[in-house]
C-alpha cells in the first residue's frame, strides 16, 4: 500500500508531530550539550535543566497551573496510574471508596480494577445514552469514605465531553479528590485548572502534536492532595517521578503546549467544519447512526455505527483510510467497544463502530476521500449482506 495514498484520520490515537516541534527536538538531540542530564551539577546539566523548566512553564501556561505542580511522566497512561494509585493509596487510611465511570480509558479502568483487588471499594458510574455523566449520579454516589473520583474530560472513542466543572465542584464540596484524564482534551479544549478546581489532571504530548512518550501529571498544591509514588529511585520531579529526564521529549511537550495555546482558537472551528462536512457526506447511508451526544462532543471526533455491517470488514474496506474501530487500545483484540456498550448500544452496532478523528492538518480533500471511501465500503458490504439480515439502526 503506497504511503502517499493513505488518508490519516486517526488523530485521537496519535497526532502527527508538528514539524517545527519535530525540528526543535531534532536540534536538541543534535546540539552539542542539549542532551546533558538535567540532574548533573555542571554547566551543561544546568542548561538542560533550564530547557526542562521552560517546558514546565509552557505546560503550566496551557493549563493555567503552577509549573511546580506539574510532574513530567512518560505519557497519560503513567499519569493516570500515578494519580489513581498514588492518591488512593495515600488516602487509604481515611477511607477506601473510589468512584469512576465505565466509559473511562483502559488506563483508568484497569487501575481501579487493580485497586479493587487490593481491597478498595469502587463505584462504577454508567453514562446516559448520549455518553454523558449525570452529575446528580455522582453526587448520589459520594459517601463519607469516598476519597477519589476519576472522570475523563473528552472520551477517546466518542469525543463526548463531560461537564468537568460541575464534577470538580461536587468533589470539592464533599472533600473528595477529583482526577481528570485530559489526554484527549489538553491542548484541544481550553482548560483552566485553577478556575475549575481540579486536583489531579493527566495529559500526553502525542495527542496534541507533541511527541509520544512524554506526558505530565498536575498535582494540586493543597492539603490532602498527595501521592504515593509509583516509581522509586531519584529526586527528580520532587520525588514524584524519578529517572533521567528525557530532555528532547520534555522540550517537545512544552513546545506543543505553547503551540496549542496559540492555535486553540483556530483549531476548534477547523475541526467543526471538517466534521460537519464528513457527517453531511455520509449521514444518509442506510443503517448509519452517530455515537455520542451531538452537541457536547469534541469537534475532532465523529463516531458512527452501521447496522448490518461487520466492523472488521468495514475497516478493511475503508483502506487506505486510517481510522479506528473503537480505540487504538482494543484495535488488536477485535472486541466490540465497551464504551458504546456502556452507552446502551447493541453488540452488533457497537462492533461496527468507526471513529474518524482529525485535526490541524486535515484538509477538505481528506474528508472528501473519507466520504467517498466510506460510502463505497458500506455499499460494498451491504451488497454482500444476506438479504434478510436485520439492519435495525437503534440499539
Amino acid at each position: 500500500m503506497n504511503r502517499r495514498h493513505l488518508v490519516y484520520l486517526d488523530y485521537a490515537a496519535t497526532t502527527p508531530v508538528d514539524s517545527e516541534i519535530a525540528a526543535a527536538m531534532a536540534d536538541c538531540l543534535q546540539s552539542p550539550y542539549g542532551f546533558a542530564n538535567p540532574s548533573s551539577n555542571h554547566v551543561a546539566g544546568r542548561q538542560s535543566a533550564e530547557l526542562v523548566e521552560r517546558a514546565r512553564a509552557q505546560v503550566g501556561a496551557l493549563l493555567n497551573a503552577e509549573p511546580r505542580d506539574l510532574a513530567f511522566t512518560s505519557g497519560a497512561t503513567e499519569s493516570n496510574n500515578l494519580a489513581i494509585f498514588g492518591a488512593a493509596r495515600h488516602r487509604a487510611h481515611r477511607g477506601k471508596h473510589l468512584i469512576t465511570m465505565t466509559t473511562e480509558h483502559k488506563s483508568v479502568i484497569e487501575c481501579f480494577e487493580a485497586l479493587q483487588r487490593e481491597g478498595f471499594d469502587v463505584t462504577w458510574l454508567d453514562p446516559d445514552k448520549s455518553g454523558k455523566l449525570d452529575p446528580q449520579l455522582l453526587e448520589a454516589a459520594i459517601r463519607d469514605d469516598t476519597q477519589l473520583v476519576s472522570v475523563m474530560h473528552i472520551n477517546n472513542e466518542t469525543g463526548v465531553i463531560q461537564d468537568i466543572a460541575s464534577i470538580a465542584a461536587i468533589c470539592h464540596r464533599r472533600d473528595v479528590l477529583y482526577h481528570c484524564d485530559a489526554a484527549q482534551s489538553a491542548g484541544k479544549l481550553p482548560l483552566d485548572i485553577a478556575a475549575l478546581g481540579i486536583d489531579l489532571l493527566s495529559l500526553t504530548g502525542h495527542k496534541f502534536y507533541g511527541p509520544q512518550g512524554a506526558g505530565a501529571l498536575f498535582v494540586a498544591d493543597r492539603p490532602g492532595c498527595q501521592l504515593e509514588p509509583l516509581l522509586f529511585g531519584g529526586s527528580q520531579e520532587r520525588r514524584r517521578r524519578p529517572g533521567t529526564h528525557a530532555v528532547h521529549q520534555i522540550l517537545g511537550l512544552g513546545l506543543a503546549a505553547e503551540l496549542a495555546l496559540s492555535r486553540l482558537a483556530a483549531d476548534l472551528p477547523h475541526c467543526r467544519r471538517l466534521r460537519e462536512r464528513l457527517w453531511l457526506g455520509i449521514r444518509d447511508l442506510p443503517g448509519l447512526c452517530r455515537n455520542g451526544d451531538e452537541k457536547e462532543t469534541f469537534a475532532g471526533i465523529l463516531n458512527v455505527s452501521t447496522a448490518g455491517v461487520d466492523g472488521e470488514s468495514l475497516m478493511l474496506a475503508l483502506e487506505p483510510l486510517c481510522v479506528a474501530r473503537g480505540s487504538a487500545c482494543n484495535a488488536q483484540s477485535g472486541e466490540s467497544s465497551f464504551v458504546l456498550r456502556a452507552m446502551g448500544r447493541s453488540d452488533a452496532l457497537a462492533q461496527s463502530a468507526i471513529r474518524f478523528s482529525f485535526g490541524r492538518e486535515t484538509t477538505n480533500d481528506d474528508i472528501d476521500v473519507a466520504i467517498e471511501r466510506f460510502r463505497w465500503a458500506v455499499n460494498h458490504l451491504g451488497k454482500l449482506r444476506p438479504p434478510e439480515t436485520a439492519t435495525a439502526t437503534r440499539a
Binding site: 455491517v309 470488514s313 478493511l316 474496506a317 453488540d347 460494498h380 454482500l384 444476506p386
Partner: protein
C-alpha cells in the same frame, strides 16, 4: 512477534472483488441454499445452481469478517463446475492456508465448512 498484516494480498483481492457475491443468475434444474450463522451476528449463505450433479453456479452472501468473505469467494470460484460429490472432501483449512490466514484466526472460517456440509445434506435430501 513481528506484527504482520493480518490480510494477505490474495485475501484482500477476494475481499474487495468478490465476483461470486449475490444471488444465482442462471436457471438450473436444482437450486440449493445453505444458511448458517454463529449466533452472534456473523451470517453466511451459499446458493448452488445444479444441473446433472454439477455445481454450475455458486453464489454467496455474508455478513462477516474479511477472512470469511474471502474464503466464501474462493470456495465459489474453486467449486464452480465441479461435481457435487467433490464437496465431501472440502475442508476450510486448505482455504485458510491459501489465503494465508493467521493460525489464530482460522477458526473464523469454520462457518464455511458448516455451510458446505449443509449444502451436501441438502443435495442428499434432493437426490
Amino acid at each position: 512477534m513481528a506484527p504482520q498484516d493480518p490480510y494477505s494480498s490474495l485475501l484482500r483481492q477476494y475481499f474487495v472483488s468478490p465476483v461470486h457475491a449475490g444471488a444465482l443468475r442462471g436457471e438450473y434444474s436444482l437450486r440449493l441454499l445453505a444458511k448458517v450463522d454463529d449466533g452472534s451476528g456473523t451470517a453466511l449463505q451459499i446458493e448452488a445452481g445444479i444441473d446433472e450433479g454439477t455445481l454450475k453456479e455458486l453464489r454467496f452472501h455474508a455478513l462477516a469478517c474479511p477472512h470469511l468473505i474471502a474464503a466464501a469467494e474462493l470456495f465459489c470460484e474453486r467449486y464452480e463446475g465441479r461435481q457435487i460429490a467433490t464437496l465431501r472432501d472440502f475442508r476450510s483449512i486448505g482455504i485458510a492456508r491459501e489465503l494465508a490466514i493467521p493460525v489464530s484466526k482460522t477458526g473464523r472460517i469454520l462457518l464455511l465448512e458448516d455451510a458446505v456440509t449443509l449444502l451436501l445434506q441438502e443435495t442428499g435430501n434432493e437426490t
